[in-house]
Amino acid sequence: MPTAAQIQSHSTSYAESTHLVFNNICKKFPDGASALEGVSATINKGEFCVILGQSGSGKSTLLRAINGLTVLSSGELILDSAPLTPSSLRGIRRRVAMVHQHFNLVERASVATNVLIGAVAEVSMWRAMLGWYPTHLRNRACQVIERVGLDESHLKRRASTLSGGQQQRVGIARALILSPEIILADEPVASLDPAISREILNLIRTAAREQNATVLCSLHQIDLAREYADRIIGLRKGRIIFDGPAANFDAKAEAALYGKNHIPTSTNETAKPEHV
């Protein structure tokens, strides 16, 4: 695995080409709640973009708009200069993979099966029904399982027998199997401990770099965002209030993003909460 320094120097060499454009997108839920209120941004190819914000700020909705899990109320999403519409969604989903907060694995199925079903929409119907994936996909599954740091002995194990960190590795392998252009990670480390969280984020970042994939990752740990992001987008109540390189995300930006009750990250370990 490359060291952090290598990645840092490597990242600057990427061509700055536009990959994904949010054009004034809005999402209103049927109950009237508004999740996104005019979000515009341009994401470059190969960028590791972290989305920060409080719970309910619209982070998940933004990610889920990209693979069509959320249907936008208005605005436009453009992927590689082609607008995303319900009819183009089918083709787009193949190029977009998602890593979930709760891993979303089929717990009773084996690791290999969980990774292979990442391609379930790509094989013919009879193969999908029999669970009989072609040789090239089975080989690819082995490759990605090795890539995420698991080995042959894990192939047959049930997902439910793995630790949380290992389960998320399987989730990442499932996302990688079709070599996606975009990886959406919806709070991928929210249910993992800090050490494992770093391993997982490191894995997502290096694996994405290897195939020049763009990553949009929502997080709620600011220190992790600063550590791993090329770019940070801060959402508050459905609007972007910070957008820039991770280095520019300073204490002031943090306070603006989280409001006055926020506990600064620098004193996170020792600070006593003011109100309980």
Binding site: R64, N67, G68, L69, L89, R90, R93, R94, A97, M98, H100, H102, F103, N104, L105, V106, E107, R108, A109, T113, I117, G118, V120, A121, M125, A128, M129, G131, G171, R174, N261, H275, V276
Partner: protein, 344 residues
């Protein structure tokens, strides 16, 4: 978010000595018990519970010799005593056998002779006179047992096919009857309605109707059982689909998988253990019910049972009942193992 909350929570929450933790029973419990007792007393009178208890205790007492005779004992006694010994041999009158060769008997068989007294009307005296005839029988020592085993195999085949047909039809019914996968509310209602209807129809009655249509034999039997099986499996399969964990399903939808693919890859692995359990239960039930629906002529061992019962051949009935019991017992063991293997 926290701005308006008081810093000092104690101001508003009472001390522990003022808390309330109610007892699990109160006057409502007593009232409920009273109502249930009154209803049961009323119904018990209608169902002749005192008479049942009286007759049963009488029968038990007479069995252990404390009382002379009992009504139940008289009724059941004759039949129960004639169940034993079980009949396992078969005998055929040799005079009725065509191309019988006395010099080369079939394997394991022997010839027995018996004297049979018949009364014939003497045409001269117009009186019935006893005549003694010697009848020869070809006796096969395990003949009837083999016959029953053959019928039992047929019964098992009926149960298997009933289960296969029920499973095949139940799967689409369950998908249409699962709220989260049905295309629209019409298909949902239709599927649930069909399933409820099928479950509410008693197999015996359905088998009687089907015998009218398909004639005596196995077809009416397995169709009747499979219709009821669909009513059971369609309901339980659908409810498991509705209750299965949605997280993997969401992951698959995010990949653009169609409903059918999500069901196969994201739902089936989750519901498989309970599906196996339900299906094995239906198979077990079908074996038992296949023995019953034979009574109306729908094939299998029940048809044989009904014939022997009606001709008072209780020794044969005993053999049949034993065969059914042993089959159900064996199936129990097999399905327990199968379940452990598939679910474990």
């Amino acid at each position: 978010m926290f701005d308006n909350q008081p810093a000092d929570n104690d101001r508003f929450s009472p001390r522990a000595q003022d808390w309330q933790l109610k007892a699990p029973y109160d006057w409502r419990t007593a009232l409920a018990i009273l109502v249930i007792a009154i209803v049961l007393a009323w119904s018990g009178e209608r169902m002749e519970i005192p008479k049942m208890l009286g007759l049963s205790s009488e029968a038990i007492l007479s069995t252990i010799g404390l009382e002379e005779e009992s009504q139940v004992g008289k009724g059941l006694g004759r039949m129960l005593s004639e169940l034993f010994p079980f009949v396992i041999e078969s005998r055929q009158e040799i005079s009725r056998l065509s191309d019988f060769d006395r010099n080369s008997l079939p394997l394991f068989t022997r010839i027995e002779t018996a004297e049979v007294t018949t009364f014939r009307i003497n045409s001269d005296t117009l009186k019935a006179e006893p005549q003694i005839e010697t009848v020869e029988y070809l006796v096969h020592p395990f003949g009837y047992l083999l016959n029953v085993l053959g019928k039992m195999v047929e019964t098992f085949e009926i149960a298997i096919w009933a289960t296969i047909i029920a499973v095949i039809v139940s799967i689409p019914l369950a998908i249409l009857g699962a709220r989260n996968y049905t295309p629209n509310s019409l298909t949902y209602t239709a599927s649930r309605g069909i399933v409820s209807f099928l479950r509410s129809m008693p197999e015996l009655i359905v088998a009687m109707f089907l015998v009218l249509g398909f004639g005596f034999g196995a077809i009416a039997g397995y169709l009747a059982l499979s219709l009821h099986g669909m009513g059971f499996l369609g309901k339980f399969y659908a409810e498991d689909i509705e209750a299965s964990d949605t997280k993997p399903q969401e992951a698959l939808r995010a990949l653009g998988a169609s409903k059918l693919r999500v069901l196969r890859a994201g739902v089936l692995p989750q519901v498989a253990p309970s599906y196996v359990a339900y299906t094995l239960y239906v198979l077990d039930r079908n074996v038992r019910m296949a023995a019953v629906i034979g009574l109306v002529g729908a094939g299998g061992i029940g048809q044989e049972l009904k014939g022997r019962y009606d001709t008072f051949e209780y020794g044969h009935v005993g053999t049949i009942l034993l065969a059914i019991f042993l089959t159900v017992l064996a199936l129990d063991q097999i399905s327990a193992r199968l379940r452990a293997r598939l679910i474990g």
